[in-house]
């Protein structure tokens, strides 16, 4: 009897900023929890799939309770080279103060295995989502405060964009939460000593764009409010990659049902304002002398883009 080997891809990540996957106490990273990164990947890949019009991607890949559909993939994480940074950290930036308790850093390996038969284009999309999330987004929790930037080491997977393009619908309609409108940016900066402060200050500046009288609820919905809403925009701490210092920013809308219900008509306005702000030359003052905005890298799309054009932008972003 011939042994059948499973279909697998392996990815190794190195943390550029610390990351957090939760713990038994609030804010404490006691260990690497696989469920944290599973949820992160599920959210990102599903959002991307919806933007591309593949609405049954979530059920096919991640399963659905109540319909006897289990996951089609298995995630196995090797966290033997992940360490905990025990030192607590307090950061003041802009108007606010943030407190970071323990967090994780190091090298992490993901082995993705197909456990049920799966159409090839879904497999392709899942792997492309991993590449794109590693390149332009973040992993795990507290990424709105700077954590979760992982660099992907060289890997064997070769994306087949042509195959995926053939399976996309010509158009799609927005259905619930998804990456129907998205912006991913790499913002280069001059070397800074305080990487957390750089990211938090930048987020604070963006938050201040929405201080008009009638924008309190909108601001809370976009930037998050404790107990009320998650943040739609994630701004990383500063990190160095390929010899360049930068901050990573990404925003996807709609990110919650509440936002979809109350602010669906404000999506384009929100993203455009943020895009204008990050493209603007910055003032040179005591705080912002660290920031320069040349060679800004942006990938963005909105609800008017077709699935094929969105895929094309993703392809260009990965090949850049």
């Amino acid at each position: 009897m011939e042994l059948k080997k499973p279909k697998q891809e392996t990815y190794t990540f190195t943390s550029l900023t610390p990351f957090h996957t939760g713990g038994t106490r609030s804010g404490v990273s006691d260990a690497f929890h696989p469920s944290g990164f599973l949820g992160s990947l599920r959210y990102f890949s599903t959002g991307l799939a919806k933007a591309l019009g593949l609405i049954d991607f979530e059920t096919k890949i991640w399963g659905k309770t109540g319909q006897s559909q289990s996951k089609a993939v298995s995630l196995s994480w090797d966290d033997s080279e992940v360490k905990t940074i025990e030192k607590d950290l307090k950061v003041s930036a802009g108007k606010g103060k943030w407190f970071f308790s323990s967090r994780l850093e190091g090298r992490l390996t993901l082995t993705l295995t197909q456990v049920h038969p799966l159409e090839e284009h879904y497999w392709q999309l899942l792997n492309i989502a991993i590449l794109f999330q590693s390149r332009y987004a973040t992993w795990g929790a507290k990424d709105q405060f700077g954590l979760g930037v992982l660099q992907l080491e060289p890997h064997k997977f070769k994306p087949d964009f042509d195959l995926l393009k053939q399976m996309l619908p010509a158009n799609r309609e927005a259905q619930g939460i998804g990456f129907y409108t998205a912006l991913f940016a790499h913002i280069p900066i001059v070397e800074t000593i305080d990487k957390y402060k750089a990211g938090l200050y930048y987020k604070s500046r963006l938050r201040n764009l929405f201080r008009e009288d009638n924008e309190t609820s909108l601001r809370h919905a976009i930037f998050g409010s404790l107990g009320e809403s998650a943040s739609a925009i994630q701004v990383s701490a500063a990190y160095q990659q390929a010899g360049q210092n930068e901050i990573r920013l990404w925003i996807t809308l709609p990110h919650t049902n509440n936002f979809n219900n109350h602010f669906a008509n404000r999506v384009n306005d929100v993203v455009n304002r943020i895009k204008r702000e990050i493209s603007k030359p910055l003032r040179a003052d005591e705080i912002t002398t660290d920031f320069l905005n040349h060679e800004l890298k942006i990938i963005d799309w909105n609800q008017q883009d077709t699935p094929a054009s969105i895929l094309n932008k993703i392809k260009q972003g990965l090949q850049a």
């Binding site: 966290d79 456990v115 009320e228 919650t256």
Partner: protein, 435 residues
């Protein structure tokens, strides 16, 4: 078919000097029938019993490591597979009153966390189906069409209209025991506002621990090649899939990940592997074949032992007389009778002729004639008898060694390291091919 191994206190209590001792009863609980199928009493002496907290025992004192190999037929085997737990292992218990909603499963005697034998057997069946897939939906149909799976895991009627003959599987697993427990939290985000909902706490077996389980293969057919093939395929399947997919619940999310550490094999009438590291040569050193010969039953006496030399000689004599020699002897006897009746021959000459004929009859009976076929058969009988003697001696020695409750087993083969299970599977399958 799987067993959970339990231990319970026997009613007898022995007092020895200042130590307090207890006799522990080891029970094998058949998880399918919920009946105790084997009951073996082991004497265990616990020194300074008061040092141990209430309800806690040193489980390894009377768990499977010291359980005798007794009663297993020839060509059966025992595998001990050791592994390291790389991520928390989830095994949920059904305790109604507990601190958390999701307690880890614990043994009711020792209260130690464990992964049950039933779980391991189900996981190994899953790995087997993934490793050797067929376009079949149900496990029962798969086993019906895969003889190795049917032998390993048995058959159980599923209540459907198709009649499946129930059969016990030959593979019996032990649980895997652990010591430490961790507390984990999951906090699902609500889709309304993206904030966390009520965090759920649950217990899991803590990562970083080493454990092992035992896999026994009962061979009722005395077929070493078949045993090797079944066990090798099974081990190959779990070696390929368990490190990737993990064990326990939520394994596809990354929980229950393991890394093999060592593999040890103990076989009754199995070949002995003297150099475990020489697998790259694809050769097996010092193989000694101790399989039961096909003709073994022909050489057994009523006592169950191999016949003695005296009886063998009688058989040989019978063979000599039963063939063409018979005709020659009859002819000579007729000739002798004719000489006796012939009154024309003088008495002295008659006596000489009769003596001569008798000598010829003796020579014919001794096979000193030209009957080479008879000689070949006699030679074969001698060789077969020698082989039966040899097998009987080896089988008796093997039974003696497993009957004595050894605390330290001697293994036919042993491998260590991350590739230990893979190497063991290769060694077993190589043996099945060469056998």
């Amino acid at each position: 078919m799987s067993f959970d191994w339990l231990a319970d206190e026997d009613s007898r209590t022995l007092v020895k000097n200042t130590s307090r001792s207890e006799t522990i009863k080891l029970i094998a609980l058949n998880t399918n029938t919920e009946k105790e199928t084997r009951n073996k009493t082991l004497g265990v002496f616990l020194a300074n019993k008061t040092e141990y907290s209430l309800g806690w025992r040193n489980a390894k004192d009377f768990l499977l490591d010291n359980y005798p190999f007794a009663g297993m037929p020839p060509c059966s085997a025992r595998l001990k597979l050791e592994f390291e737990l790389l991520s928390p292992l989830l095994t949920k218990d059904d305790i109604p009153y507990y601190l958390f909603d999701n307690p880890v499963r614990r043994d009711h005697v020792f209260h130690k966390p464990y992964l049950s034998a039933a779980s391991l057997l189900g996981l190994s069946m899953d790995a087997f189906r993934r490793a050797y897939p067929k376009e079949i939906d149900s496990n029962n149909d798969y086993k019906q069409q895969t003889e190795q799976a049917e032998r390993l895991f048995g058959n159980a009627p599923d209540g459907s209209s198709s009649k499946i003959e129930a059969s016990q599987g030959r593979l019996r697993l032990s649980p895997a025991w652990f010591d430490r427990v961790a507390v984990l939290t999951m906090n699902k985000r609500k889709s309304e506002n993206g904030t966390g909902s009520n965090p759920v706490q649950f217990e899991a077996i803590a990562k970083g621990q080493t454990s092992h389980f035992i896999a026994d293969y009962f061979d009722p057919d005395n077929n070493l090649q078949q045993t090797m093939e079944d066990l090798g395929l099974w081990l190959q399947a779990i070696t390929e899939y368990w490190p990737i997919l993990g064990l326990g619940a939520k394994r596809h999310a990354g929980y229950g990940r393991i890394k093999p550490r060592s593999a040890s094999l103990e076989g009754i009438s199995w070949p002995v592997f003297s150099k475990a590291q020489n697998l790259s040569d694809n050769t097996i050193n010092s193989r000694q074949q101790f399989c039961k010969p096909d003709f073994y039953e022909d050489y057994l006496a009523d006592s169950g032992q191999v016949i003695k030399r005296g009886e063998l000689n009688q058989r040989i004599e019978k063979l000599k007389n039963s063939q063409g020699n018979k005709q020659q002897v009859a002819e000579l006897k007729q000739k002798m009778a004719a000489v006796k009746q012939d009154k024309a021959i003088p008495p002295q000459e008659k006596k000489q002729q009769i003596t001569e004929i008798k000598k010829q009859i003796q020579q014919v009976k001794k096979g000193k004639g030209n009957d080479t076929e008879i000689n070949e058969k006699i030679k074969k009988i001698e060789q077969e008898w020698q082989a039966c003697q040899s097998y009987y001696k080896q089988a008796t020695n093997a039974k003696k060694s497993v009957d004595s409750q050894m605390t330290q087993s001697s293994y036919n083969a042993e491998f260590k390291g991350e590739n230990a299970w893979q190497k063991m599977a290769q060694w077993i399958l190589e043996g099945a091919k060469n056998d």
